[in-house]
Every structure is written in C-alpha cells, then in structure tokens.
Symmetry: C2
Subunit: 338 residues, 2 copies
C-alpha cells in the first residue's frame, strides 16, 4: 500500500481523528486521504502508540490523551467493535467531539441512540451512529424504498460475502485450524420477489452458507462438519456446505473480505393496487471494511456541517440530508446530479 493519492496543496477544511486502527481504521485512513475537503489529524489507540504505524504517517496518539485534542479535531470516527467498545466509547467521546460510529447491534440501537443523544446534546456536538453499510447504507435503501412504496414488503439479502462472525464460530470448533464462511443469497428467492410475489421466507429460503475449513492434522473431519451444520442460530437454520481445504488454498483463494447484498421492495400503486413495482438496491464490494469506512467518512462530512449549523444530539443517516454527505457543492449537485 502507498499513499499516492494525497494532494497536500488542496485546501482541506475538516480535521478528522480515527479512534482504533484495525481494518476499519485503516479503511478510514485511505478514504480520508482521498477526500479533498478533509485531512487526517491523528489516530488514537489504546495500544502502545509506538507499536502502531499508519500507512500515511499520521500521528499516533494514546487514547488517554484524546481529551487534550478537542480543539484540533472536527470529527472523530470511531472504529471499535459494537460488542464491547462502542456502547461506552461513543457516548463518552460525544460529550466533547462530533462522532461517527458503525454500531451494528440492531436490538440495542434505541438504547445506544439515547445514550449518545444525552451526551452529545449536553456537549453541543453531533453523534451519528450506525453508519456502516448495514445498518447504514442499506438502512437508507430500506427507508427510501418504503417511502416510495408504502404499500409493500421489503427483503434484505446479504452476500455473496465473508461473514467474520460465522468464520470465527467455525474456528472455535475443536480440530479446526482456520476457516472462512460465505453467506450466499438464494437467487430463486430474489427472483420470486422480483416477479411481484410477496413471499414469506424462512431463513433457509433466503440464504445458504458455504464453509471452507482447514482441519488440524488428525482431526475428525466428519465430527467437524457435523458440529458446523448443527450449530444453533449460526448454521442450523440454513443449508450449509462444508469443504475441507489446505491452509495454502485458504490463504490463496479466500484471503479477501468481499461482501454485498440486495435490498428489494415489492409494492403496489393504484386505486385498486393494480400496479406492481419493485425497487432494488444492490452492493457488490471487493472489500467490506473499506466500503464501511467510505460511508463513515461521508457521514463525518455531514456531522461537521450539521454541527457548524448549530445542531447537536444523536442522529442516524435517516436524519441527514443527502447533500450533506456529498463533497460536491450545491451548484454542482443541481447542475449535474439531479
């Protein structure tokens, strides 16, 4: 990786801080460096800062010192996990900074929103939560499809892509050295919705799961396959295929983190519901974390603008005028994008 896209001569207005430097943090670094209206001020880490080296030589600062940087940062993009980091981190930082996160624990979103709202309102800052691709970008597809066709049914299909949670679940099985799991949408189910039917699907009807597994030497492959296929919630509700491959093959063919999916809504218009219509929104991504990062960066631009207007409190992408996500001026948008 290089840092070739940077043009330091262009005036940059928004100063971005990254909190957490994993896959998403690195993706945010790449996306910010390509955004001509932003500059990357610092990466904050809970590790020893001297152990973290960024691609574009951004200053790396201890998380403990983040409070001293209030005046140097316009928006913090939080790149921690939804399970243990973001529930406390987003509210904590929203008191002092405009913040963006990709919180994705659907059932806890209302609670997380309330916590961020309290802190951000108190601090006069904006916090936009759940800005990944789902929740986030796909949520926008869902709300726009629903607004256009209020009388209808929506379906979200994920994949073909790597589910890191499911891959991890396989790796925890005894005798498994490594694994990669692909979530695959069932094409026949997509086609059924496209024809204007409004089917009620089971989990099995919509997705199947493809597993590539590296077994430890001497491991019982039949037992591993059985353990995968019967794992509750993760695999049992789906048609699951298991293929044993070597570590070399896994490294060679399954190293990436591609993902994607489709939001599909089928709805009626007309006085007697006589017209069928479908709205379909699809993503096909070579890199799941880099696309997530790209959405986070667009959301950071919106947070900055909303806070500059005097707004504060928690928001989701549902609350953001699309123009605020764009690097283009109002005149450019009216002349070329509308």
């Amino acid at each position: 990786m290089t840092c070739s896209q940077i043009d330091r001569k262009v005036k940059r207005t928004m100063r971005i801080g990254i909190v957490g430097y994993g896959n998403i943090g690195k993706g945010v670094e790449a996306a910010v460096e390509k955004a001509q209206d932003m500059e990357l001020a610092a990466v904050f880490t809970r590790r020893d800062p001297s152990s973290v080296k960024t691609v574009c030589d951004v200053p790396v600062i201890s998380y403990d010192e983040i409070g001293s940087m209030k005046d140097e940062i316009d928006v913090l993009i939080l790149c921690g996990g939804s399970a243990t980091d973001l529930p406390w981190m987003t509210p904590e930082l929203a008191a002092d900074f405009n913040v963006i996160d990709s919180f994705d624990n659907h059932s806890k979103i209302p609670e997380h929103f309330a916590n961020v709202d309290a802190a951000a309102s108190e601090g006069g800052k904006i916090g936009i939560i759940s800005c990944g691709w789902d929740p986030g970008y796909f949520s926008l597809a869902r709300i726009l499809a629903d607004a256009a066709l209020p009388d209808g049914d929506s379906y979200t299909f994920w994949g073909r892509g790597v589910s890191q949670g499911h891959s991890d679940a396989i790796r925890r099985i005894e005798g498994v050295a490594d694994a990669r799991q692909y979530t695959v949408p069932v094409e026949a189910a997509l086609d059924k919705v496209r024809t204007g039917e409004h089917p009620e699907f089971t989990a099995r009807d919509m997705h199947h799961r493809e597993c590539y597994v590296v077994a430890e030497e001497g491991a019982d492959k039949a037992a591993i396959e059985e353990a995968i296929k019967t794992m509750p919630a993760y695999f049992e509700p789906y048609d699951t295929t298991v293929e044993f491959i070597t570590q070399e093959e896994l490294n060679e063919k399954h190293a990436g983190l591609p993902h994607g999916g489709t939001v599909l809504r089928s709805g009626h218009t007309g006085f007697d519901n006589e017209f069928n219509n479908t709205v379909e929104f699809s993503l096909n991504l070579d890199s799941n974390p880099h696309f997530t990062s790209s959405i986070l960066v667009a959301a950071a631009r919106a947070a900055y603008r909303m806070n500059q207007e005097g707004q504060s409190g928690a928001r989701t992408l549902f609350d953001v005028p699309p123009a605020y996500l764009s690097h283009q001026s109002r005149e450019e948008l009216l002349a070329h994008m509308l």
Copy 2:
C-alpha cells in the same frame, strides 16, 4: 377504479391539494388516499370544474380560486407539465403555499430552483422541486452512490419502458395513426459496468429504441420507418426497430405506461484503488405516473414537516432528511428500519 383503501376514521394531519388532474394528478389522488397521515382537500383545475370528476369524489375547484384556499391546504402538489406549466406555476404558488413539483427539464433546473427559492423565501413556504423518479428518486440514488464511492463513474440506464415524448414524436409523422415507443437498456452495457470496467459509452451503446406503429390506411410504411430511424436526437443516435401493428394490437398489448431503469456506479476503494465496488439501484414499474405520484406524495410529507420547523425556500430531495419522507415515527424507524 374504486376508492376502497380509505379509512376515514384514522386521524389525518396533512391537507393536500392537487393542481392539474391528468395521469399524475390521478396518481397523487390514489397515493394520498392510501396515506394515513394525509387527506385530500381539493383538486384545482384550469378546465371547467364541473367537467372534472375525481375517483374519490374530491371537491374540484377552479384554479382561479386557489388563492382563497390558503388556510385550507398544507401542501399543494403540482401535476402540470415541465415545458409550459411549472416554470411559472411553481414560483407563483410557492409564494402562498408549500409546493411540490416534478420539474424535469434538466438544463433549466438551476433557473427554476432560483425562481422558486425567491418566491418561497419571501412567502415563508417550502418548495421542493424535481420530485419525480428522474429527476428525483434516481437523483437520490446518484448522490448516495457518489458519496459512498467518490472515486468512480456513474451510469444511468432507462427502461424497459414507454417514453411518451418519443411516442408523441412518432405520432407527428405523416401517415402515422398511433404509436408506442419503448426505451430499452442494452444489457451488455450494464454487464460491462458491473464487471468493474469504466467504459465511455455512446448513446447507442447504452439504449436502443423499440417502436410499435399503427399506419393510416394506404400510408407509405417504408417512408414512415425511414422518417423514424433518421429523426435527429430522438432516434438517429440509437439502434431503432420499427414494427407495424394494428390499432387493436396496440390497444391490447401496449396500453400501459410501464417504466424503470438502473443507476449503476462503479468505484474504487483502498490506498492503491485495489478494490472494485459497484452500487446498483433499479426500478421496475408497472406504472410510471403512479410511481412518480408516490414520490411526490412522500416529498409533500417532508415539505410539511420542514415548513412546520420554520424552514422556507426552495429545496430538492438532496436537502431532505430521508426520515421526513417516511410515514413511520422516529421510534419505529430506529427499531425496525435501521
């Protein structure tokens, strides 16, 4: 057509007026009657009101008396044409009403926006322009795809669907009794973009045109076909097929106004542009005017809410937080749509 969906017991809050009762006006009537937070107060017409009968028995009032209805209407949805009606009508009405239109003359959008902005700002009202499906809904697809993948190329394909402008152009040829023209996207061009190529297309590469023509008795069919295929701007830049059929066949097989299309963006992420990604947004509509109407009604909901907040001036869908288009409450959106 019936009016079966109405549930008059539900509390309705927004009072909508329709200006112009053609295909779009009728579609707005159907969509408003199904929206539980709206009621239809009146249809305004420049024809003799006694000659206009609405499906749901809405009061029909002369356009000349519209000024007396300022206090009875929350949002006016303007269903006139972009060529001769909306350029004067939207600014005129924006001085006294929140207004929505589907102005679609792309090159004149900046001028129309400025005219509506001046009138609406002066009157303390909101005017949202260009709220059809293109410009409008497809514009939202374009801006969201661009914001997510700023380093990329966007393509808009239209069809398969009936172009009324092209059908009218054929009807004006001597010897033509009736005609229907379908705009058809070239599937190979879509596939090329989906593979991550960034092709530069000519008009011919992206769309072809299918014409079904009813010739008058004794007309010179070869001359008609030649006149169609060589018509500048409309047909000459495209591969065009012409099929002569009877009026009965036209009425039977080509009576509808289906349309649709795809906005497709292909873009890179990563420090070295090493990841390809595509975002694809498709519509497949049995009725073009009824879907346009559905977007207009969602935009009316947003205009009402923005004006209730004290906002005024001209807007486009780029300026509207998606939540404002939705009939769902904030709590429902957070819990189920995000």
